[in-house]
Structure formats: structure tokens, C-alpha cells
Symmetry: C3
Subunit: 345 residues, 3 copies
């Protein structure tokens, strides 16, 4: 657990969450926890009916919940129409990370003279910011991170430790880049001369919108000619690979280990499950959900949920079925033959 | 090959491996190799019957093997009941890495004043150790690695170069973290307001047990409220993603490219093959093995081997079968119809 | 987009591409773009018939194309038999990256005294080069990169920012390593004593040939005893995992998220699609192509295209079929029974 030293009154919290407080506003709150684990100085929340059973016995100082559960709450409460959203806001109030930021440039950091710095910028130990970079107000560059030449980072964006932003990348406002991620590495482009490969210099960049989050060790490659474009409020988990010239629409979420091949366009409000793969040059329309580890090899033109693959089963059973899969076309043909002959009878 | 300058006598090795030496103990040994490749100053080993054929002709200075093969060995030998385990111990005797560690803090490293350092700690060039960190005896922090505020690292643990340990992470003793791995990046948690995503601050941490190994470029995300917990002696390969609040039992091994979604619990002594995916909120019991690239979407309550998917085949054959897969339900229904009609005859 | 300040005349370009110029050679060219987007100071190219429709209306200063399309070109042209290869060469002429290299060692870099440096070497800010390393002429070590002890890097090789080359790694000439990649982390090797794992020290190295490219966040593990070997002109995309003692033949290309398990040998001129997995100890012959996300569990002895898995479909349809997959062996048996009984009639 991280140590949270902050303290707020229940009234402060109600105000900041725009929630209806029922109970004493004086109560000092030092954090949040589940209904089960919360103590008298913590706020708990009920956002999922599965945990309703824990409400009656909670020791929390207060509970964040929907008005419909108000009466059954044994302790002071914060009523909200969307308690899960309330939990998100509450969690941010107790986030210890921003409190640790130290405005200014750490003496060990290397920042080129030509860099333009906004107000309140924090550049951490051993970080490198190269020529021609523009950092907006309150940008945080974590320890060991590198920002390549001519890149622009919008106000309030945070690079955690050991992030790499390559040259000529544009990142919007309030983005969060986690450790080990790489924005703007070369796309995978080569011409073949019959024997050997010849590199196609990747002259495009990467454009990340506002409120984008990129997880640990994820990579977003730069475009070949045009840019790779990530829309606003796109959320990208860890170990994700986004190839050159991909475009991703606003508010789309990609879970861990997703891989998207070159020039594919993903719409707005899509959700790709963990390990999903999209082939190159596809168009996926708005509002598409793809379940975990599915392979998409054709464009999708209708919103909805899509899947591929087969769920795990005991290995012995699986072996028999997997062998039959290789006979599937034959099985289908034999079945048709039987049907025909039967009609003849 | 890395250069190994160390020299031991065969007698030294027998003593350290607790093996029965048959032959002269004076023999100087400078390394180890396979039965085929080993020279007179190297020890070879026979741990797999497949290589028995190479025993008669080996040029090795000595061979590590099971007593049952002793008589057929043409050179001095080290007899052990578990020769593969003996090979593991032997390999550690000739590991060149520890010899390169230089106790102390490299002048280019940035170590906060409040850091507590055990005896024999080595902190490499350009490394960063932030406020409130505790490093146990003989901890090694590799070049360019960053240890975030308030993290604790147990004695004898090694961070290779360019590792990132985020804030509030607890790592046990004798752990090994390989380059590019990230421990404690944010889990993937957001609340949706109907249009946009709102970040849920990830207030939990990560707890790694003793003797844990994490491979290159792997990521273990911090918990949302509680911690992500990795048990003792858990071995994690490269390119693995472990999401927030996952728990992994002692002695479990995860091969490369495994992805485990949020809040899933994996038991003890499990083995997940390369590229395996586990959905979120599952419980996998002790002693489960999952074969490569299988997708597990339901909890598993019985030990054993589990699989999914279909093996590769020539593309033309595959196309026909893959098309039939989409008709599979129809095929099954038509088959039942035929069976019924036949019974009627 | 990255800013390209370079200017060449059309005649210069024709000379460097060894193309036949038709039109005025004086024309100043500042970059390249697609037929649709190119302006009067840019060269466009026609390498794919799909874009032939854009030729008539292009505003490009000149077009790179095959002689067969020469007559229909409304602007000056550069004729070449392989226009796509021409595009690759042209792109390199306008690559802004090399122009930014600054020969010498950045004052913040840490370079061991014993390091041997070729002519024109560039070592970036916060980089670390350890004892016994040899860097060939014009090697570039990017900001924050670490080169481990006793490694050798051939002339003209570029490490981008935050790359990790571990100890005892040999890299050929003109290789390109992208940010976040790790060459030479430990392979995944352990001996089991019945309860716990015992580490097998990974004493081998990694050998990369000439003209190899490794993408962002990819990892190539070092060998257990012998080396992991990557041939010449092997192209590796982002998020790829190559396990210990794998050998990859010349001119083979691995797309993003590929995973190759230990000791597998891949031939020359192979192409593995995104997310492909190869089990350990396999042999894949020359000229094999494997389509995206396929799992290969057996050796392949004939060149050709191989696939596995099933494409995505609407989830409702998929659920029915996936359930039937688990009955596939039963379905096949019932079908045979029907066939037999019918013959009896």
C-alpha cells in the first residue's frame, strides 16, 4: 500500500464530489477502501450490487452510494446517481502521486537550451529533453524519461519514470504515459528487392489527443508518411502495440496486450479486450467491442460484440476436438452427402 | 558467449554441488558446456536421456550425471540424483554477473537523502532512488534503473539496467528484475459517465515475494485499492502483463507473453505456457497447467492440463475449415436431425 | 509530422535513386508524400495500382513510378523498375534522424575507461557504456541507453533512446535498435527440485547479424549455454519476444507481438505475422509464412503459408459455434456411425 497522508472532512468530499451528504460533515477522512475493509476514517462505496451484502456491517466512516440504498446504510453517507464515477473522483482526491511533484528541473536532468517550458513544469532526475521541445504548463517528465527533439507535450501531461517520447511527437493535454512506454518508435516498413529488405524511413509522427493514457511497456509507432493518430480520451493498457498510421477514435479503450497492425482505423467508443489482434488496413466502425484474444481480419461495419477462438478445456478433450477441426470441411461435406442420399430414399 | 575467467577444481565443484566425485579432484575447471561442446577444462552434464548418445565421445573434463550412467562415462564424473538441478547449481558457480558488481553508489546516480541503505548495496550509473526507499543488504540497482518513493527492496535482490520500480512497491529477498520491466505502473481502471472515461487513481501497491524473477519488458500493475500480490518463488518470463489486484501463488511459473486480467487469482505450482490469456476475476486452483496461447475465460477448480485453440495447418486447408467453424452449430443441428429421422425408419 | 529542412534537386534525387528523370532536373524538392497529398516541392510515388487513380490529378513536383505508367504522368517523373524500392531509398534521403547526431560523448554520459571507441561515435545524454565494450565507427548510442560490459557493436549501428544491451552481446553493422528494447536479458531457465525452482544462470550471449532491426519494447533473451543467434537482415517489429537459444535465419521478418519459445530454429526468408507463437525446440524451414496470431506447435518442413485459429464473428453466433467445438469429436463419431448404418441399408 502507498502511504496517504492527506486528510479531508466528509463535507469537503461531498462538495468536491457534488454528492448529497447525510450525516456529520466534521468527520475526518484519510482515505478510501471497500465496504469490507474500510475503517472509521475511510470512505467506502457501493457501486456494484454484488457487494450490497457488505453494507449492513461496514465500519466505514461513510459510504458513497446511490440514493436507493440510502436507507439501508448504517453510517453517514454520500448519495450520488453514479457511485462508481463518485468512487473515481474520490480516488483522485487521495492520489499521493501529484503531491510528490517538485516544480523545476532536477540538477541531473539534461534539458536543451532551445526547449520552451511552461509554468510549473517538473523535470525529474536523469531525464533528457532534446532540442526544440515544447512542454506546456505543469507537464511532469519523470526520472530517466527522454523527450526527443521537436516534440510537443500539452499542459498537465505526466510522463512517469523511464518513458520514451521520440522526436516529432505531439501529445495533448492531461495525458498520462506510464513507465517503459515508447511513443514514436519507427513503424515496420521495408521494401524487398527480391533478396533483402530496404528500410523505409518513417517520416510521419504520432499525434496523441487530450486525456489519453498509455500503459506500461506499450508502444505506439510513428507513421511512414502521415501520422499515427490517437484520439481524445483514448485509454491504452499495458503491453499494447499500435503500428504505424493507425487511427483510433475518441473514447476508445484497448486492454492489455492488444496489437493493431498498420493503417487500421478504429472508431470511437470501441473496446478491445485483452490480447485482441487487428490485421492491417481494416476499418472498425464506432461502438464495436471485441472479446479477449480475438483475431479480426476483416473490417467491421456494424456496432456490436465480436469474438473468435475457443475457450480452454481439459487437454485430453481438447486434443480430440482440435484434431477434428482439421477435418471440419470433410465432416461438413460428408454430412451434406448423407442428407442428399436420405432425401432420395 | 560471455567471458568467464573463474577457475575451480573438480573437487571444489563436487563439494559445492554435494556430488560424489569419481576421478581426480585436481582438475582445473573454467566453465561448463554440453556433452558435445565441452572441452577438457569444462564440466558437461547428462540430464536428459536424449543426449545419452553424446556421453561416450565427450571431451569434457568431467560429466555431471545420475549414478545409473556412471559406468558408461569415459571421463571423471560428478554423480547426483538430480543432475539437472546439479547443472543449475553449477551454472551459478560460473555466472559472471555478480563478479562485476561494485559496492557503493556510482557518482552519477541520484539517491535521495532519506533513503535507507543496507550493507553492500550497489547502485549503478545514472540510477535514481527516490525519497523514503529502503534497500536491504547487497541489493543491486542497475544502471539507469529508477526506484520510486517509499518502495522497499529486500536483501540480495537485483535490478538489472533500466528497470522501473514505481512508488510504494514492496519487493522481497533475492528477487531478480530484468531490464525494461516495470513494477507498479497504474492498473487500468476508469469509470464511464456515458460519454467519457474518468480515471480511478490506483492507490494500491505491488507486493513481490522472495525469490521472484521478472523477465525483460514485463509489467506488473499496482492495485486499485488493495495490492497486486506475487507469491514466493514465482517465475515470470519476458513480455508478461499482470493487471491490477491479481494474486499469484508460490512457485507458479508464467512463460513469455502471458497476460492476466484484473483481480484474477492463480494458485500455487501452476504453469502458464507462452501467450496464455486469463480473463479477469477468475480463480485458478493450485497445480493447473495451461498450454501455449490458450484463452481461459472461466475459473478452473481441478488441477490438470488445459488448452484451447487449434494448431497451425497449411493455409488452404485452414481456410476451408475456418469457414466451416462458423457453420458448426448448424452442422451439429443437421446431424441431430438426420439421427432422429434415421431412428424413425 | 517531423520537420524536414533538407532540400535536393530532382536531378540529385534521380542520381541517388539511379532513376530515369523525365522533366527538369532543377526543381527543388523538400520531401515526399502520397500522390494525393504531395505538393510542388515534394516527390510522390506510384508503387501500388490501387493508387493509379490519383496519378492524373497529383500536384506533386514529380512522381516516382514504373516506366509503364510514364506516359500517363502529368508532371515530371522518375522512372524505376521497382518504384516501391525507390520510395524506400527516397525516404532515407529525407530522414531527419541522422542529421541530429552529434559526434562525441555527451558530458552527462558515463563511459568506462576501458571502452574502445571507433571514429565518429555519438553517445547521448545520460547513456552508460560499461567496461570492455567495443563500439565500431559511427555507432550511435541514444540518450539513456545502457551498453553492458564486454558487448561489441558494429559500425553504423544505432541504439535509439532508452535501449538496453546487456553484457556479452555482439551486434553487427548497421543494426537499428528502437527504444525500450532489451537485448540479452536472461533466458527463462530453472531446475525444479520437486517443490521450488532453482535458477539456471544464463551463460550464453546474443549474436545479432548485420542490418538487423529490433522494434520498440522487444526482447531477445541471452542463451543458456550457447548463444541466441539472429541472422543478417532480420527485421523484428515491436513487442516481440525471442527466447534463449532461438536461431533466426537471414532476411526473416517478424511482425509485432510475435513470441518464439526456447531453442526453436526459424529458417531464412520467413515471415511471421503479428502475434504468431512458436513453441520451443521446433525447426521451421526456409520460406515459411505464418498468418497472424497462429500457434505453431510442430516443426514445419515445407515452405508455404500456414495458419491456425478462427476469424472473429458476431458474439452470439460465435458462442453457439464455440460450444459445438467442444463436441466436435463426438459429432465426427456420430457422423461415421450414421454413414456406416446407411451403407448397411
Amino acid at each position: 500500500m502507498t502511504h496517504v497522508h492527506k486528510q479531508l472532512t466528509l463535507a469537503d468530499i461531498a462538495r468536491q464530489l457534488d454528492a448529497t451528504l447525510v450525516g456529520s460533515g466534521e468527520l475526518p477522512i484519510r482515505g478510501l477502501a471497500t465496504l469490507k475493509d474500510a475503517g472509521p476514517d475511510q470512505v467506502a462505496f457501493l457501486a456494484n450490487r454484488a457487494y450490497f451484502k457488505d453494507l449492513a456491517t461496514t465500519r466505514a466512516g461513510a459510504v458513497l452510494l446511490h440514493p436507493e440504498h440510502g436507507k439501508t446504510c448504517p453510517v453517514p453517507r454520500l448519495e450520488l446517481d453514479n457511485p462508481y464515477l463518485g468512487y473515481a473522483r474520490l480516488s483522485q482526491l487521495f492520489d499521493p502521486v501529484p503531491a510528490r511533484d517538485r516544480t523545476g528541473i532536477h540538477p541531473s536532468a539534461v534539458v536543451a537550451e532551445s526547449v520552451q517550458l511552461g509554468a510549473g513544469v517538473c523535470i525529474g532526475a536523469q531525464a533528457v529533453v532534446e532540442d526544440g521541445v515544447m512542454l506546456g504548463d505543469n507537464v511532469v517528465v519523470g526520472a530517466g524519461s527522454v523527450v526527443g527533439a521537436d516534440s510537443m507535450i500539452g499542459e498537465g501531461t505526466r510522463l512517469h519514470a523511464n518513458v520514451t517520447v521520440c522526436h516529432g511527437v505531439a501529445i495533448g493535454k492531461r495525458a498520462i504515459l506510464h513507465s517503459g512506454c515508447v511513443i514514436g518508435g519507427d513503424g515496420f516498413g521495408f521494401a524487398h528487392d527480391g533478396v533483402a529488405w530496404h528500410k523505409i524511413a518513417q517520416l510521419g509522427g504520432v499525434v496523441l489527443g487530450d486525456d489519453v493514457e498509455v500503459g506500461s511497456c506499450s508502444s505506439i509507432d510513428r507513421g511512414a508518411l502521415g501520422d499515427t493518430v490517437i484520439g481524445n480520451d483514448v485509454k491504452i493498457d499495458s503491453q499494447v502495440q499500435i503500428a504505424h498510421n493507425v487511427c483510433i477514435g475518441d473514447h476508445t479503450a484497448l486492454a492489455g496486450c492488444v496489437g493493431i497492425a498498420g493503417s487500421t482505423k478504429v472508431g470511437k467508443h470501441c473496446m478491445l479486450g485483452g490480447g485482441v489482434g487487428l490485421s492491417g488496413h481494416l476499418t472498425i466502425c464506432d461502438g464495436v467491442q471485441v472479446t479477449g484474444m480475438s483475431l479480426v481480419t476483416n473490417s467491421i461495419h456494424a456496432p456490436g460484440v465480436y469474438s473468435s477462438g475457443t475457450g480452454a478445456m481439459p487437454n485430453q478433450q481438447w486434443r480430440k476436438n482440435a484434431v477434428r477441426f482439421k477435418q471440419l470441411d470433410d465432416i461438413a461435406k460428408r454430412l451434406s452427402r448423407l442428407e442428399k442420399s436420405q432425401r432420395r430414399d
